[in-house]
Point group: C2
Chain length 336, copies 2
DNA sequence: ACAGTAGAAGAAAGCGCTTTCTTTTTTATC
DNA sequence: GATAAAAAAGAAAGCGCTTTCTTCTACTGT
């Protein structure tokens, strides 16, 4: 026992053991009727006795259906990816799909991830973050694979997509703050991460400040890492204390980094420094001060997206796009 | 264009187009030699022109190898699962495996997850958390599937496993604190979550306090949720302020909940209340006060585990078990 | 110039299922 | 009890590959 490669029972062995034909076994396996109750019971007994489980792969070949779906994600370092995944996996569970997940490390890795997902012979794909260029997309569409994209869809109108709309609420928020007198706004960005998203955030801000008089707006390129940002701003703030500045951060962890840097130097938030994170997680609420964010239900983003894919696979998708609005939630890191 | 189900090119069409036999195409596909350079070039041209990608599924049937591995996890609500996953996925990427991930919601769901992973026809499986009973395990071993288990291995010595050893460092820590005079220790547990882990934590603590005189130790059953715990302890502490108590929490988020409850009421940490979380994430460092935890590199846990599986699949695994020691990292939530 | 051999290519079986087409058996009808 | 119709079961092809076994070429050495 143990180490010797026991070979799995096949449908043929079941048929032989039960003294019926392959077709009959297949019928009871798939509940396709035209099998007498006694035969069915007999076959099921043999199946149980042999511990037979049908080969999904042979089945896939025969039916041309694999029940596999691919999920392509940026390397899952962000907490919210968790929630998206959870939503997707739950839907897969419900509909009986096996999700294969492939991650990419930065933009240059996307193409390879797409190759891998195609080779793995999935029936449909969900791609997060849309760091896709035209070539990637055409590779996908060449195989006429159902695909739904979370995020930007400028390149490829023909695909289903779900959009997280930060721009509207972000622009509205900035407008409001500028009207209230805010004159210094900073936006941190890591050009190597989520560049698509980040461009949109920046555009949303710029669309406002470019028409407002006397607003000092700057984008600052910096590595998206808690420690890097914490250290950077700690020394930064030591030299020149923050003076009524509003920081917009792509992610709550960055806001926490800056907040901690300021706090650890004895400054007060939001009196001397306001921070607002765009993408938030539960940690925005757990941090002190709690971080203001633009909220969206990531679990739902994941589940809706996967649901769209399953509908596409069944040919019953009516709405090819879905928009998630975000809502600004003021917490303790900003005055408004 | 677009909507019509373009059917994928098959190896047969490539062969026909190139005027060679299937076998020849297969040879160039797999680089199995005995093909003249010209033929090879010709075939490759046709492949490129047709946009042919071999069917992994047909290949799988023919070779009996799927290059699929299964990952079975608790529904990924914890941050560290992220890191484990990242480690696993990276290894899969390197070795060319397609990881299919299946999650389970609580103990009662494990069996179904195992069914799903088996049906998906993977070559090997990684199971996290080992909330497996004997039946589950025998189901797995029936198929003589290579499997590596992260966590407890009491049931099944024959499987490869990687163990995260919190017990040793936890017991050592408690011993130390008791010797230093701590007399009140509380341990929070959610019986519905990670029961295996939690039992071990509790055993480690009890093994110490049961032999120490005059230590007041209690386990408290409570739902593992930030808000539930925050609310509970906020009212709790309002009635009776914490008095030199040491709280041991399974996870850093719970420590943060209690800390915040105490902090928001104006109590001081660690002077009036000490909290130590067992499983920590980066948020232990981001919180204020920073939370003391027992650290382990989750990414490495994931990558080592998956590496063990790939070695099993290649038949080159020598060490069937791997132990990760944890180290206590004192931060600001405890005096020691 | 001829047997011998290595290299290149093809034929065909087989992987484990599903499914269509037939054939056999059962049941209903008059 | 004979016939039609429905239900149950079987035979066999086919899904898209890999791989073993053959066959066919084109060299090599003598």
């Amino acid at each position: 026992m143990g180490n010797d490669k026991k070979t799995r029972a096949t449908i043929y062995q079941v048929a032989k053991e039960a003294n019926v034909s392959l077709a009959t076994v297949s019928r009871v396996l798939n509940g396709k009727g035209n099998v007498s109750p006694e035969t069915e019971r007999l076959v099921n007994d043999v199946i149980a006795r042999l511990g037979y489980i049908p080969s999904g792969i042979a089945r896939g070949l025969a039916t041309q259906l694999t029940a596999n779906v691919g999920i392509v994600l940026p390397s899952p370092n962000y907490v919210y990816i968790n929630n998206i995944m959870a939503g997707m996996l739950d839907v897969c569970k419900i509909y009986g799909y096996s999700p294969s997940v492939f991650t990419y490390e930065g933009i240059s890795d996307v193409a390879s991830a797409i190759d891998r997902v195609i080779a793995s012979r999935v029936e449909g794909i969900v791609v997060f973050n849309s760091q896709l260029n035209a070539e990637d997309v055409s590779k996908l569409t060449n195989f006429s694979l159902p695909i739904v994209i979370i995020g930007e869809d400028s390149l490829h109108q023909h695909n289903a997509n779900v959009n997280i709309d930060y721009s509207t609420s972000l622009a509205r928020y900035i407008t409001e703050r500028v009207n209230q007198g805010i004159r210094t706004i900073r936006f941190l960005r890591d050009p190597n991460k989520d560049w698509h998203m980040i461009n949109r955030f920046q555009n949303a801000i710029e669309s406002v400040v470019s028409t407002a008089a006397g607003v000092d707006f700057q984008s600052i390129d910096i590595s998206d890492s808690y420690t890097v940002i914490y250290d950077y701003y700690k020394t930064q703030f030591q030299h020149t204390p923050p003076a009524n500045e509003l920081y917009i951060l792509p992610r709550d962890s960055l806001a926490i980094a800056i907040n901690n840097a300021a706090l650890d130097l004895g400054y007060r938030i939001p009196e001397q420094l306001e921070t607002v994170a765009i993408v938030g997680t539960k940690h925005a609420r757990m941090a002190r001060p709690q971080v203001s964010t633009f909220e969206v239900d990531w679990y739902e983003v994941g589940s809706i997206t996967m649901r769209m894919l399953t509908k596409m696979l069944q040919g019953t998708l009516s709405n090819k796009s879905y928009n998630f609005a975000t809502t600004y939630v003021r917490r303790k890191s900003s005055k408004r």
